[in-house]
Every structure is written in structure tokens, then in C-alpha cells.
């Protein structure tokens, strides 16, 4: 019996970080702009190596959606020094595991390795950053794989399109309008050159955070990082190097006015000819402009109500509200508000809508928090034969109650305890720690938030919770989606 239809989704938006256990770490920037974070702990002889690239679907052009996620696939295809198909194999062969994921805001790659293979992980990630294979063979294969992924995860899964449908209506200006899986037509239409340009724009050292946690020695790790990452060219010099490696002699000389023979083919940055050094320095000084959209400022002006027909048996309702960006101070109170509404069996929505009134088989609320904006979603899968409008009324009654009446002291204590428990449980694995450190650095401007997040929640008062309910649950400006079974 699968009860939690949405456990996966909830897990991904659950609180990224924090623990009572203090996480010690060191961090620094390499001259080329890579931010490095290291956490040392020896409980298990494993180490997690990760790079977060600050590029997600929101950095895509409107006619090239799906690129960020597509790269997540493409960058397993190999590099100049790693044969096609060998990237994963090398990790697995050495007792490691690897994967990657893409959101609207970032693309995240990681390996979990036996600790004696840390250097291997660094080499692999530096290869991915420097000169991954961005070429037609890999592009063709991964295009088909991504299409299958979309069919499997979105098209063929009941209700799975609700994020797409919600965001499409919630954001008409901001690129949150589309979701990371993007458009298959765009991927089909794109040429090799489009992919190469994307790589040259976003896969550059100044856009990368290297976060490593586990059974490591900080000094030794720094040396290896120096070896594999300090040599990554700065600024536009990385693209000069990529062109050097990929272009023909004639094309390169035409573009840069210098022959390829002037450079050190084995170690580009160690080129010794004065002309080569000059042009490298010149390009290193050119910063790469990474396109980032403006923060979302669009206000919903009314109620958008739509029906989506899906291959489902039980109808469902999804109500979306505009929430602020994830770094906004109100997020702590909003998370706690969601916990009051749907955290645990004793939560308000579970007690009334699921248990007492038996209107839904499952009811939940969560904040889909992102860098530029958030979406508060309240949803339920209707019990057999229950009308969605009646569930909507019940949602509204619950929201009204949050707005008009302070939550009880006991309920407040309960929610605080639950956050304490959740935050202690996070940071149980080195992979989780590496990711939390990187996320906090990139989104909140400081990795130290891994140690202060609980304090953020404990500062919230009952009045704060009431206030954010009043502020963000705008009944006259929201998106309401009804999911109904397709006619057979």
C-alpha cells in the first residue's frame, strides 16, 4: 500500500539543512573564482565530492528550455581525457556512486567515494568543468534518454504535471514559467553550437562551488584542489582553452589571430611563448557575464482557475499562492505555518479534511521555495465521490482560521519540537552535509547557515505565523487547479 503519493516531492522541498550538531568547515576562493568548502569527519571511510553550478532552468532562454537539465545528462558523456561512457564506470569501478540533479536554480553533481579515492573525484570533476565532451554523439543519445525521463517522470505519472501547470500560471514573466524538464521541441531544434555556447557560459569556474565532506585531510585535500582546480583558466581564458582543444588550427587562428602551435598542448596554462601568455592573460581578465533573470516581481492580480485532465482515477485540487524567495525572513514563519497545516498525523488538514470529514485520501501543504520566488501549495487528492469545490471550501476555512486566530501555545510548541527533530536528523550523511554547505553558500551567501537554521525557526512567534498567513494567503490572487480523470 503506497500511502504517500507525494513523499518524493515533499522530501525535495523539505528543509535543506541544519542540525544541532555543529558542522565545522573551512572555505576559500581560488583565484579563478571557484568557491571551495571542506568538511572533515572520519566516522566512515567515505568522502562526498560535489560541484554546484549556479545554473538552472531559470537561466535558459525562452526558446531553449530544458538546457540546464539536459547538461546534467550530457556531462556524464566524458571529457577530453575520459572516454565516452567511462565517467560513471570509473566511479563505480572504484567503489563509488555518482549522480546529479537539476532545479530551476542550480545543477548539482556529486560522487560518493571510498576516502582513498578522493583525488579521483577531484580529477573527474575538474575534467567535467574544463572540457567535457559537448558533441553530437552524446547529444543525440541523451536527447532520447531525456525524452524517456520526461515520459516516465511527468507524462506517465498521475498528477505529476501539477508543478508544470502551477508554475506556468503563477509566473508569466519570470523564467520559473517553465520547469527544468523543459521542452522536447527546443531540445530537438537545438544545434551542437547552442549546446557549446551554454557550456561556455555557465560551466565556468566563477559559477562553481566545490563542496567536499567526509573522511579527508584538509591540508592534503587543499593540495589536490590546487593541482586540479587552480589550473582551470580564469574568466574567458577557459573558453580560449576549449576552443584551442576543439577548433581546427585554421578556425582558431582566424578567431584569435594566433596559431595553436604557440601554446603548450599538454598543459594549456603552462604555455610559455610570450604571445600565448599575453592572450591567456588578456582572456583571463575578461569576466564571463552569466545571465541571471531579474527577481520575480509579478503580482497575481486575480484568481486563475483551470481544469487539467490527467490519467487518474481520483480527482485532486492544487491551490497555489505567491510566496517570497527562499532567503526572505518570512520563510521561517511560512515553513512553520505549513507544519501546522499538514505536518504529521495531528496536523489541522489531516485531522479535519482527511480524518474527520473524510473528504480526501491525502491533504498537504508545502512551500516550493526557490531563489527568486516561492509557491505555497495546498493540495488534496479527493476521496472517492467528493466534490473538489467542497474541499476548496475546507481549505479556505482552514486558512481563515490561521488568519483570524493565533495558534495555541501547545500547537506552537509541537511545531517547534518537530523542527528541532527534523533539523537534528538532517546532516546525518556526508553527502547531505556537502550539499547543504554548498546550497547555503550559493543561496544564502554563507555556508554558516547550516549551523544557524534552527535558531531562525526558534525565533518565529505565534504572531509571526498569523501575520504571514494574512500576508501570503491572498484569497483574491491565487491559482486553483482541478485535476480530473480523462474521459476514457
Amino acid at each position: 500500500m503506497k500511502k504517500l503519493f507525494f513523499s518524493g516531492i515533499l522530501a525535495t522541498v523539505a528543509f535543506g539543512t541544519q542540525a544541532q550538531k555543529k558542522i565545522d568547515y573551512v572555505e576559500y576562493d581560488l583565484p579563478n573564482g571557484i568557491h571551495v568548502i571542506l568538511h572533515e569527519e572520519h566516522a566512515t571511510p567515505i568522502v562526498a565530492v560535489s560541484i554546484l553550478y549556479h545554473v538552472g532552468s531559470k537561466n535558459e532562454k525562452t526558446d531553449k528550455t530544458g538546457f540546464a537539465h539536459f547538461f546534467e545528462h550530457l556531462l556524464f558523456e566524458g571529457s577530453k581525457n575520459i572516454e565516452r561512457g567511462k565517467y560513471s564506470e570509473m566511479v563505480e569501478k572504484n567503489g563509488g556512486a555518482l549522480n546529479a540533479n537539476t532545479s530551476q536554480d542550480r545543477t548539482y553533481y556529486f560522487e560518493i567515494l571510498p576516502s582513498n579515492q578522493l583525488e579521483l573525484g577531484l580529477w573527474l570533476e575538474s575534467e567535467r568543468l574544463l572540457h567535457a565532451k559537448v558533441e553530437n554523439t552524446g547529444i543525440e543519445t541523451q536527447r532520447s534518454v531525456v525524452k524517456e525521463e520526461k515520459r516516465q517522470r511527468v507524462d506517465n505519472q498521475p498528477y505529476a504535471s501539477f508543478i508544470t501547470e502551477m508554475f506556468k500560471r503563477m509566473f508569466t514573466v519570470h523564467p520559473y514559467n517553465w520547469v527544468p524538464i523543459g521542452s522536447m521541441e527546443h531540445l530537438n531544434a537545438a544545434q551542437e553550437e547552442d549546446y557549446v555556447n551554454f557550456y561556455k557560459t555557465f560551466y565556468v569556474p566563477s559559477n562553481a562551488t566545490l563542496s567536499i565532506a567526509g573522511d579527508l585531510n584538509i591540508e592534503e585535500t587543499k593540495k589536490w584542489i590546487q593541482k586540479y582546480f587552480a589550473s582551470v583558466p580564469k574568466g574567458q581564458a577557459i573558453n580560449l582553452m576549449r576552443d584551442f582543444e576543439n577548433n581546427t588550427d585554421a578556425d582558431f587562428e582566424k578567431k584569435y589571430g594566433i596559431a595553436k602551435s604557440k601554446f603548450n598542448a599538454k598543459d594549456f596554462m603552462a604555455s610559455t611563448s610570450p604571445e600565448a601568455k599575453k592572450i591567456i592573460a588578456q582572456y583571463a581578465a575578461k569576466a564571463i557575464d552569466i545571465p541571471r533573470p531579474k527577481k520575480d516581481t509579478e503580482k497575481l492580480t486575480g484568481v486563475v482557475k483551470d481544469i487539467v485532465y490527467d490519467n487518474i482515477q481520483l480527482p485532486a485540487i492544487f491551490v497555489g499562492y505567491k510566496f517570497p524567495e527562499q532567503t526572505h525572513p518570512d520563510i521561517y514563519a511560512l515553513d512553520m505555518l505549513n507544519e501546522v497545516l499538514s505536518g504529521g498525523s495531528s496536523s489541522r488538514m489531516n485531522k479535519t479534511i482527511v480524518e474527520k470529514k473524510e473528504m480526501a485520501v491525502q491533504a498537504f501543504s508545502f512551500n516550493y521555495g526557490l531563489e527568486d520566488a516561492g509557491v505555497g501549495i495546498i493540495a488534496a487528492i479527493a476521496a472517492n465521490g467528493v466534490n473538489l469545490d467542497s474541499i476548496q471550501k475546507e481549505f479556505d476555512a482552514q486558512i481563515d482560521l490561521m488568519k483570524t486566530t493565533l495558534i495555541s501555545q501547545e500547537e506552537f510548541e509541537k511545531v517547534r519540537n518537530s523542527f528541532e527533530n527534523n533539523l537534528v536528523s538532517s546532516n546525518a550523511s556526508v553527502a547531505g552535509i556537502a550539499e547543504n554547505l554548498a546550497d547555503n553558500h550559493v543561496y544564502y551567501g554563507s555556508a554558516s547557515r547550516v549551523n544557524t537554521q534552527l535558531a531562525g525557526y526558534l525565533k518565529v512567534t505565534r504572531e509571526d505565523i498569523q501575520r504571514v498567513a494574512q500576508k501570503y494567503f491572498t484569497q483574491d490572487a491565487r491559482v486553483i487547479l482541478h485535476y480530473l480523470p480523462k474521459e476514457k
Binding site: K93, G95, Q226, A270
Partner: protein, 693 residues
């Protein structure tokens, strides 16, 4: 000059990005040692085996109380155990559900229950409160009627969602086809859920939740001293019967590939699951090499044969994996993934190719090394979770493994050779006897026939039950019976049939019956004599277990339990309505009510269904629409509010003196399944009704 060179030589290695040759893969440092701490194990007086894995990294502790029983068959109440599991948290004699939920959430704890366990996780500082609630639930769960009704209704709704989840549908079908007449093959349906009563739930809970044979796995920030005290305080008073341990079969091994199709209208992908049962149990010495084989084949990662072929090479799918399920009570391999409609058949071809191919020769060294390293790495990574250590201890006890099983795991893994892997493939893998389950759009159906050994695709529903897709019959009931009679008598006209029947005075058949739960064979004998006398008996180990006779006027049945019971007036009347070697020949005149229901698909074959009622029971007979031979018979008898069902499948028709009789059958009597093979079938021999009286 020389000096300068020397200086360069000294400086060069120190230059930060000097001459790094990126084409050289770094060499690993010395391999770290892996230490597996021993868990503490002790047994309580009331029979709980306590396993403790201390880990003080986080201020948390978890208690997992697992019952020691085997799965038990649930028959027409399939889902009883799951439903009970979802009701355990419904309240206790002193706490209503609302109070219970609130108290647990208040300490930020997790307390949940399933059909055979209770699990608590909380901050160590809240341990006392958590255990207090947990032991209250364990000993005083009171299953209120209102919650029973509510959860049952909710479960009904949830069952509907299974119909839209292709993965669940495929799993349901896979279990049914691999494990018929086995608890693994039982799926909850709307009908079986409807049969479950609150009394059933209470009885199940009392039988299963018992300290005897149970395991309490404690993990986290707690000492042995604390555990000993807590266990005595909170579980010391818990009492119960011995754990239920029923023997069960190993699954159904096919002869030839079967294709099983589950319709999912609107699907853009097909879920394909190719599976077969395997004769192995947990702890078997072959388990580890079999794991290596599965790892190479498709068990995980991108480098497996399935992934390389179906994803990386052909791009048919986002992922294709094989999963090896080895349990104490039945084991199977399942291979599958999601494939777009257009490549459904090509994907099956490739999966079967890979299955076959891996039995043909030794794997490459690189493949073996890759999988062994990846398993060794997985083993090391798993040690990060304190639960793993406790699970190891539990496995050692449950599966009677040697004490150092996990300490020596890496050495044993390392010793596995290519030849060992090939031997596993030859012993356990098959590309010829698979169950190929496809959940998808009907448009792919036609292209699947090629994979089925007899070209007949079986249709199952979302819960793995046969699809009753009834079409209108294209012939009358009289014509159906006529065709049947011509067919069984190899006649071309009813006149010829009548002539042949006139010569038949007596009939006797002996079948040998076997049943998984009965260690010795049974003999079933059936006789018939003109005009309307018959007898049936079942014998085993020299004793008559059950017999029935009817001499044309009176009859009785006897068994060791009930003694002799005379037939009732209704039963005697029924005997006058349905009689004869082929009772259908007399339907037109005997006064029985009968009608043709339509055409149904039975195991891939179209069959005419004839419904008849003799006043005591309703019978559905299924006739193959091509051969008109009888394929199966289903009888539903009402006794008060209860109905009992019995069914017989007939096959292996052979001629006996010009008549076609089935020489194999499978009988299902209220959940007990017998397989029968004919030893003798005789026409006009000497028969004696007396031995049936």
C-alpha cells in the same frame, strides 16, 4: 648552466599549475580499513531478541520492533495484514487516535506501524515518552469501529489510485503470475477489502503481534544499560503465543514464456517487467555470487549490460534495471523499466537477448571487477547509516548466517570468479521461461504476441486479476451444447453422438492429486453408471478421506470429520436436473435453468460461458471457442450469508475409446489448490457403487 637546470628541476614540481598531465588518472591512496562494530544481542524472558547498535553521532534513537512470523495466506481477504497495519495507530484503551497523534507529534517523534512492525524514532531526550506511547499501542491498541470504517473507506479510494499508477499495476501482476497460491501473489482488491471485518483485524493483530520470536532493533544514541532498563520497563509485560510459521511454495516455474498485459489507456510508455521465480532462500551460499551476477546484468549503476544496451546504446529508456529479490519465503528476479510505446517489443527482445546472452559465456574481467568494486563500495557506503549495522546483526540471526558473515563479506566478494558468475547464470537465469508483464497502451498489444510461447496473451487488471471482458455470444445456448457434445465425442452429427452414447454404460476415472501443503499424494476416483448413478471418493495413505454417492434415488456423503450425511431434498432434486456422463446433453429436458453469458477471455483464449443453476449452486462452464472443449468450471454455492467457490481447470484432453477426456486438472476448493493427473480413465469397465457408500 648546469646549476640553472637544477634550479628549474627543483622549482618545477612546486609551480602550482606546472605541467599537470590531465590524461593520467590519479592513483588511489592506501585503502581505508573497514571496521564493523559488533552489535549487542540479548533475549528477554518473554522471547524478544534485542539487537543494539550504539551510535552517538546524533542525539537520536530508533526502536524497530519486528514480528517473527512468516507471511500468512489471506485468500479472499487479501489485504487483511495491510489494513491491520494501517489501523494499529488508531488509538488505545486509554488514548484516542487524536490524543495519540498529538502526543507523538508534540515530541517531534515518528511512531508508525505496519502489518508486522512498530517503529519509533525520536530525540534521545524524548525516549521515555516515546516508548511509553509505543508500548501502549503495542499492548492496548483497541481498533475502534469508526476508525475501521474510515480507514477501510479510505483504502478503497487508495485502491482506485492504483489503477492510474502503472508501476503498481505491473508489480501487482508480477506477484500474481510468479506466486500463485502463495501470500506474495495475493493483492488487495475492492472485493477482498470488502470481505474484511473488524473481527478479522483483531484476530490478526492478536496472532501476529506476539513477543515470541520478535526482534527489537535499537539504533542510536543510547547505551546497553539504558536499553536493558527500557526493554524491561516497556516491553516486559507483553505476552503472546508463538509466532506463526507456515511453510509455503517457491513460486510457479513456467514452461515457456508467458506474456501478461495490463491495459493502461492513454499510456505514452509501457512498463515492462520480465520476471521469474528462483529456487533460493536468504543465507544460501549462492546468494552473494548471484548478487554479483545481477550487478553485472542490471542491478545498478550505468555500466550494467541492461543500461549499456537499452539506455546508452539504444536510448529506449531512461533506465532499465534488474532487481534480485531473495527472501526466506520465495525469491525472484525482476527486470524492467519504462519504454516508449514504439519500442516496447524491441525492448523485450533486447532484455531476453541479454538474459540469454549472459548464460552463454563468462563475463569480461572488467565487468566482474566493476561490479565487485561497486558492491564493495556500496557496502562501505552503507556503513554510514547506523541502521545498517543493526540490520547485519538481524540478518545473521534471522537467516542463521555465520557470526563473521559481514566481517568476511569483502573477502568472499573478492574471491568470486567469472566461472562462479556463469554457473549462477546457468543455474538461475532463463530467457525461455519468463513472465513478461507489460502495462501500457493497447496499441502495443499486437506486437507482443511473438513473445508468448503459445501466442495467447493473458489480460490482467490493475490488481493482477483476470480481466472479465465479456462479449456477446454469437451462438445460442443449444448450439453451444451441441458443439461441445460433438467435440467430446469426435462426432460430426448429433445422430452419431447419440449412437456412440448408447454404447456407454459405465465410466471410471482415477486421478492422482497433489497439493503443496500435503506431503503425500491423494487418489480421486469418480464413477458413473447409466442411467443416473455416480460415486466419488478421495483416498490418501490407505484411508478414504471423503466419499459421495448417488444411486438414482438416494445418496450421501461421508468424511472422517463429519461422518455420513444423507443428501437433502434439494440436493436430490439437483441430482435429477444435472445428470449423465455429459450432463449438458440433458439440460434441454432436465428442468435445470441455464443460459449463455457471453464470450470471455480466459488465459488468452476466448471461451463461451454457460451459466446453469440446479437449485443448490450456480455453475459457470467455460468452453474453448475454437475447440468447444470444456476449459473450466466454476461453482458458487450459497450457504446462509456465506458463499463458497470451487473451480476446476481442465487440460490435456486425450481420446479414450472415441471420447475426449481431460487428463489433467487443477482444482481450487476455497483456497486450497490441488493439481491432478489422470492415472486411468476407463469406459464400460466393471464399476461398483458400494465402495462409495
Amino acid at each position: 648552466m648546469k646549476k640553472i637546470f637544477l634550479v628549474f628541476g627543483l622549482i618545477a614540481p612546486a609551480v602550482l599549475f606546472g605541467q599537470l598531465d590531465r590524461s593520467i588518472k590519479p592513483t588511489p591512496a592506501k585503502a581505508p580499513t573497514i571496521n564493523i562494530k559488533d552489535s549487542e544481542v540479548f533475549t528477554t524472558e518473554n522471547g524478544i531478541t534485542v539487537i543494539l547498535s550504539e551510535n552517538h553521532k546524533l542525539p537520536k534513537v530508533a526502536f524497530n520492533l519486528v514480528m517473527g512470523n512468516n507471511p500468512i495466506p489471506e485468500g479472499n481477504k487479501a489485504g487483511l495484514s495491510d489494513l491491520t497495519g494501517s489501523l494499529i495507530m488508531s488509538g488505545t484503551t486509554s488514548r484516542t487516535k487524536d490524543v495519540l497523534d498529538n502526543e507523538i507529534d508534540y515530541i517531534g517523534a515518528t511512531l508508525n506501524a505496519s502489518k508486522n512492525n512498530l517503529f519509533l524514532s525520536c530525540l534521545t531526550k524524548h525516549m521515555d515518552k516515546g516508548l511509553n506511547i509505543m508500548s501502549d499501542v503495542l499492548m492496548n491498541a483497541n481498533f475502534p469501529q469508526t476508525e475501521f470504517d474510515r480507514v477501510k473507506k479510505q483504502t478503497e479510494s487508495s485502491l482506485m489510485t492504483a489503477k492510474s499508477d502503472p508501476g503498481t499495476m505491473a508489480d501487482n501482476a508480477e506477484r500474481v503470475v510468479n506466486f500463485p497460491n502463495h501470500p506474495y501473489g495475493e493483492n488487495m482488491t475492492e472485493a477482498t477489502l470488502g470481505n474484511i471485518t473488524l473481527e478479522d483485524v483483531n484476530a490478526y493483530y492478536r496472532a501476529i503481534f506476539t513477543p515470541q520470536g520478535s526482534y527489537l532493533v535499537v539504533v542510536g544514541d543510547i547505551t546497553k544499560e539504558q536499553v536493558t532498563k527500557m526493554v524491561a520497563q516497556y516491553f516486559g509485560a507483553w505476552k503472546g503465543n508463538p509466532a506463526i510459521m507456515l511453510p509455503m511454495g517457491k513460486g510457479q516455474f513456467n514452461q515457456g514464456n508467458r506474456v501478461i498485459f495490463v491495459k493502461k489507456p492513454g499510456a505514452v510508455q509501457s512498463v515492462i517487467q520480465v520476471s521469474f521465480p528462483m529456487d533460493i532462500v536468504t543465507g544460501d551460499k549462492n546468494q552473494l555470487p548471484l548478487n554479483v551476477l545481477n550487478g553485472i546484468f542490471g542491478g545498478g549503476g550505468f555500466g550494467t549490460r541492461l543500461m549499456q544496451n537499452l539506455r546508452e546504446d539504444k536510448a529506449y529508456t531512461y533506465g532499465c534495471y534488474s532487481s534480485l529479490n531473495v527472501t526466506e519465503n520465495g525469491s525472484w528476479l525482476s527486470i524492467g523499466g519504462n519504454f516508449r510505446n514504439a519500442v516496447t517489443d524491441s525492448a523485450i527482445t533486447q532484455i531476453l537477448f541479454e538474459l540469454d546472452n549472459i548464460t552463454k559465456g563468462t563475463v569480461k574481467d572488467e565487468e566482474l571487477n566493476l561490479t565487485k568494486s561497486s558492491m564493495a563500495g556500496g557496502f562501505a557506503r552503507s556503513l554510514e547509516r547506523p541502521q545498517t549495522i543493526a540490520q547485519f546483526a538481524l540478518n545473521i540471526i534471522k537467516n542463521k548466517l555465520s557470526k563473521d558473515y559481514y566481517q568476511t563479506y569483502l573477502q568472499r566478494l573478492d574471491a568470486i570468479t567469472k566461472e562462479d558468475v556463469l554457473a549462477m547464470a546457468k543455474q538461475y537465469f532463463t530467457a525461455q521461461n519468463c513472465n513478461i508483464v507489460v502495462v501500457g497502451n493497447e496499441e502495443v498489444l499486437e506486437r507482443l504476441k511473438q513473445f508468448d510461447a503459445d501466442g495467447r496473451i493473458e489480460l490482467l487488471d490493475a490488481f493482477g486479476q483476470e480481466v472479465k471482458d465479456v462479449k456477446k455470444a454469437d451462438i445460442s445456448k443449444e448450439k453451444l451444447i451441441e458443439n461441445y457434445l460433438l467435440s467430446v465425442s469426435n462426432s460430426t452429427s448429433m445422430k452419431e453422438f447419440g449412437k456412440k452414447m448408447k454404447k456407454v454404460k459405465a465410466y471410471e476415472e482415477k486421478f492422482e492429486l497433489t497439493m503443496a501443503q500435503i506431503p503425500f499424494p491423494l487418489t480421486a476416483t469418480k464413477i458413473w453408471m447409466t442411467p443416473n448413478m455416480e460415486g466419488q471418493k478421495i483416498e490418501g495413505q490407505g484411508m478414504v478421506l471423503q466419499k459421495t454417492y448417488f444411486d438414482g434415488k438416494a445418496g450421501a456423503s461421508s468424511s472422517m470429520q463429519t461422518g455420513k450425511v444423507e443428501m437433502t431434498a434439494e440436493e436430490l432434486t439437483a441430482k435429477t436436473k444435472s445428470f449423465g456422463l455429459f450432463p449438458e446433453m440433458n439440460f434441454a429436458t432436465s428442468g435445470i435453468t441455464y443460459e449463455i453469458v457471453g464470450i470471455e477471455n480466459v488465459k488468452g483464449v476466448d471461451a463461451y460461458v454457460l451459466k446453469s443453476n440446479d437449485g443448490t449452486a450456480e455453475t459457470f462452464d467455460y468452453f474453448d471457442a475454437k475447440t468447444f472443449l470444456k476449459m473450466k468450471s466454476l461453482t458458487i454455492r450459497k450457504e446462509g450469508d456465506q458463499t463458497s467457490e470451487s473451480g476446476v481447470n481442465y487440460s490435456d484432453y486425450k481420446a479414450v475409446e472415441g471420447f475426449m477426456f481431460p487428463h489433467a486438472m487443477e482444482m481450487n476448493m476455497g483456497g486450497a489448490v490441488f493439481s491432478g493427473k489422470a492415472t486411468t480413465i476407463t469406459l464400460n469397465g466393471k464399476v461398483d457403487l458400494n465402495s462409495f457408500k
